[in-house]
């Protein structure tokens, strides 16, 4: 019988069990923070109660023991965006018709904080932030690695600043301060 084309239901069930157990052990170790070289070896391919094999050993050419520490890096980077280059930008002009905006960006990664001018497509921005695109709006542009389900892809991420608008009372306080300063520096009329 060809082992790649005819897998019995029992064997399929065995594979599911292995995946399930592997995941459980990884999660348990991850949250208990017990990942180390001294972690006990776990036999994932045997039923812990009956000690019977869960999969046909001839069908799967796998080792029967596993150290969780070796997979620790996968667990730590689950669905993360790791930034390698970062800019802060300010929208200079917004062309709604062509769905583009022109921005001045400042490099936040390098020590010399280089400035540049870049044109972006609105599509490059997270859809949740489209309402925030306007002249003068601040945003952060990241280029980095997106880790998803253990796969790494190079990616760009643009998110707009979401500081709440100033409250009326705060604006009034600023106006009051400005009026006081103006009257202080006002040339003497007498």
């Amino acid at each position: 019988m060809n082992s790649t084309s005819s897998v019995s239901d029992k064997e399929k069930e065995g594979v599911v069990l292995v995946d399930h157990e592997l995941n459980s052990h990884l999660l348990a170790d991850f949250f208990n923070q017990k990942l180390s070289n001294t972690s006990p070896k776990i036999d994932l391919f045997k039923d812990s109660d009956s000690n019977r094999p869960l999969v046909n050993e001839n069908w799967l050419d796998l080792k029967t023991t596993f150290r969780p520490a070796k997979l620790s890096n996968i667990a730590s980077k689950k669905n993360e965006f790791l930034s390698i280059q970062k800019w802060q930008g300010i929208v200079e002009s917004f062309d709604e018709e062509n769905s583009t905006f022109l921005a001045t960006v400042i490099d936040l990664t390098g020590p010399d904080r280089k400035k540049g001018s870049v044109e972006f497509d609105v599509d490059e921005v997270d859809p949740g932030d489209w309402d925030l695109i306007a002249e003068g709006a601040i945003f952060y542009w990241n280029i980095g690695y997106q880790y998803s389900q253990g796969v790494r892809t190079k990616s760009s991420l643009i998110r707009f600043s979401r500081l709440p608008p100033w409250k009326k009372k705060f604006i009034e306080t600023i106006k009051e301060t400005a009026r006081n300063r103006f009257s202080f520096f006002k040339p003497d009329q007498t």
């Binding site: 620790s72 667990a75 859809p127 949740g128």
Partner: protein
């Protein structure tokens, strides 16, 4: 090599100590205040929302609030600035909340390629030969140091990573005790509280410097590590 090239996993969090109404902190509230997008608020996963505790996760953000502690965290370096802006926006909205201290924190797991590399660095920090004369089998667990700053102190600890094989874990806490402003309340323990609007000023004026201090601390630790190669 800069330490950032060795980062395997990093978290950035901001902790504010004060008096909070924990229950209001939900994805919906942050969404209504415009501090996260509507989509992020809608997809937010509330773990606990009761009178004294609120815990939720929304996309890049994790929030934990109790009666006396507000904590926001992100595990994604692309959102570090957004986390600070979210904290500023939160206390701009709740500007009368009494607060007493704030911490800017970075928890970093750094990769090392060989066990010897890690052992050699740890032995530089705490030479085991010194202890072996007095104890049976002494082991390095953790080292904690503290230095004073203009607003409080910066404290850092170094230990072996539990996430990264032969990795190093560094926890940096830049603690602000002096927020400034007029005292509005004093608790039974003698802690004095000011209005959160002062915290907003502090975030605007001192956070870039604080983040720089954390980065410098990390760089200095890494310089010691490189020297032990």
């Amino acid at each position: 090599m800069n330490y950032s090239e060795a980062i395997e996993h990093q978290e950035h969090s901001i902790v504010v100590l004060g008096k909070f109404n924990a229950q209001i902190f939900s994805p919906a509230w942050f969404g209504m205040e415009g501090l996260i997008s509507k989509e992020e608020a809608y997809e937010g996963e509330v773990k606990i929302n009761s009178r004294g505790v609120s815990v939720f996760k929304a996309a890049w953000l994790e929030v934990e609030v109790t009666d006396d502690r507000f904590k926001v965290l992100t595990r994604q370096s692309a959102y570090y600035e957004m986390l600070r802006e979210l904290t500023r926006g939160t206390f701009q909205a709740l500007n009368n909340t009494p607060v007493r201290a704030v911490g800017v924190n970075f928890q970093t797991h750094l990769r090392m390629y060989k066990k010897e590399e890690l052992d050699s660095f740890i032995d530089t920090l705490t030479p085991m030969s010194l202890w072996q004369n007095y104890f049976i089998e002494p082991n390095f667990e953790r080292i904690v140091l503290k230095d004073k700053t203009e607003h409080g102190y910066v404290r850092w600890s170094v230990e072996k990573s539990v996430l990264v094989e032969h990795g190093l874990y560094v926890d940096i806490n830049d603690h602000f005790e002096k927020i400034g402003g007029e005292e509005v309340w004093k608790d039974n323990l003698g802690n004095t509280y000011v209005k959160a609007e002062k915290l907003v000023d502090l975030i605007i004026n001192s956070f870039p410097e604080s983040v720089q201090r954390c980065d410098d601390t990390m760089s200095k630790i890494w310089t010691i590590k490189l020297a032990t190669k």
